[in-house]
Symmetry: C2
Subunit: 295 residues, 2 copies
């Protein structure tokens, strides 16, 4: 006799890298009796079906969430408002709605505010990913030993929160509960600023003359290639992140700017001691990352 | 009957990540009848001996180069002048002197100018490395499928250049001949700017309060950790790079600054189209890196 699945019907709205990875976990471990996938593009839902990620597909988000006890929104954040409005009337009482977006405070307005009182809203963010996008890019091990941050409001039903947490734990993730504003501040530093910088530096190289550009690609193994990987991330998703987390990003960017100006001055003056000090203390952070098992 | 080794006596001045990796190649493939390692620290040469990287060690660079037909300088660039002065009287006629430093134009002054006319100076730069340092960090596969750039003066004996090229090819490297000034410009973009940015951003995080810093480390998998790896590179080596390649680095840094200001403005204004365009064109560079087999 098999154990009862965690969920009866799960609806994925959007099935890219994150959604399809989580769907693969649910298929692998039999966590849902039925999985329905909705996407705006026929091609995407066809592919989700071919990949065996779900039992049923639809082009309508409202159709997908009908009778679902768990709805997982895995689309770019710019679509949240429209999706929330579309699914709200179709949601069943007691359903859990969660998401995987990279900025959390705005989800309470864009998503939470449009949902009926009789559903549980548990915003989430798995700190995992690759530079690849789409349903083919997913794999079930993506979340293993990575953090998933949940940012529910204080008055959210603890049982609903625990069901979402249990799902992520089943995917191998470690769970952290966090205030959504604090989440957005931390991620502005750990994720949004690094991506912004990587996009910028790769763009700077792209502006070079064609000959020089080819040489930059040829000799990219010297540091540049790591930035090209980051700067190959999904453009829609990242546009939305910078639109949604504008203030926190601009704040850390101005700190970064100050620090860069200081190092620039050290280079201009030939101040080797200052550079050596700076380059030494950054090593301690790397050791922290390694000790935290996140390297 | 074994084939004759490429070199009779090879002297390594400095035996860190790069030097010890190349020494391992030479040992593996029997490329030298004898390898001598010189370093200023007793501990380092003892370790080189324990690791089986050489036949003989010495604390004196001058002693090491005696009767050597190949001298490979693998020390931070700030030591070049002192080393050149020390070894010049001890070099044998016809010896080849090469190096592995990351900035090439200045080597003609710091190293080349002090060498006697009867030796061949062939500056080199293997585009390979890791964030680890020291003789234990080396491994013989480090150079495989990576570029090594050689920047000899136009009047250098072609046979001497070819012998150095052949050594690097034996290590699995692809060879590129380049003007030293052009090398320094290209590397300012592909290597020096990325490292400067990584050192800066990790330093910015290090300036945060202790609690926030711990969270940044905890959630570093979201982009930041790649920067911490780059920013863990050897501080002495990188100080020297920014001292030696100051002008080219400041030039690309000012282009980067302009581009970052433009993106910052797009974020402040909520200009999603501009961001989307920028984030889309950087993907093409990533494809170039993958196509060039440097990913």
């Amino acid at each position: 006799m098999s154990t009862r699945p965690m969920f009866a019907r799960v609806a994925f709205i959007g099935i890219g890298l994150i959604g399809s990875s989580l769907a693969r976990v649910m298929r692998r471990d039999g966590l849902a009796s039925e999985i329905v996938v909705a996407s705006r593009r026929q091609e995407t839902i066809d592919r989700a079906m071919e990949l065996g990620l779900c039992d049923r597909t639809t082009l309508s988000a409202a159709d997908a969430v009908k009778d679902a006890d768990l709805v997982i929104i895995c689309t770019p954040m710019s679509t949240y408002k429209e999706i929330a409005t579309a699914i709200a009337p179709a949601l069943m009482s007691g359903a859990i709605v969660t998401d995987v977006g990279s900025v959390k405070a705005p989800t309470f307005k864009s998503l939470g505010a449009a949902l009926p009182d009789y559903v549980h809203f548990v915003p989430g963010h798995p700190i995992a990913g690759t530079e690849h996008s789409g349903p083919d890019a997913g794999f079930p091990e993506l979340f293993e030993n990575r953090w998933t941050i949940l940012t529910p409001a204080a008055d959210t039903d603890p049982e609903a929160v625990e069901r979402v947490a249990a799902l992520w734990r089943q995917a191998g993730a470690k769970i952290e509960m966090m205030d959504p504003h604090h989440h957005d501040q931390v991620l502005a530093i750990t994720s949004h600023l690094p991506h912004l910088i990587a996009y910028t530096i790769v763009g700077t190289a792209d502006d070079l003359g064609e000959d020089l550009k080819q040489e930059v690609i040829k000799f990219s193994a010297s540091g540049f290639r790591d930035f090209t990987r980051i700067a190959a991330s999904d453009p829609t998703m990242w546009r939305d992140i910078f639109l949604e987390n504008r203030d926190a990003v601009l704040e850390v960017l101005s700190r970064f700017d100050e620090d860069l100006t200081e190092l620039k001055r050290a280079i201009r003056r030939g101040d080797g001691d200052k550079m050596f000090d700076q380059f030494t203390r950054t090593r301690a952070i790397r050791r922290g990352v390694i000790d935290a098992d996140q390297a």
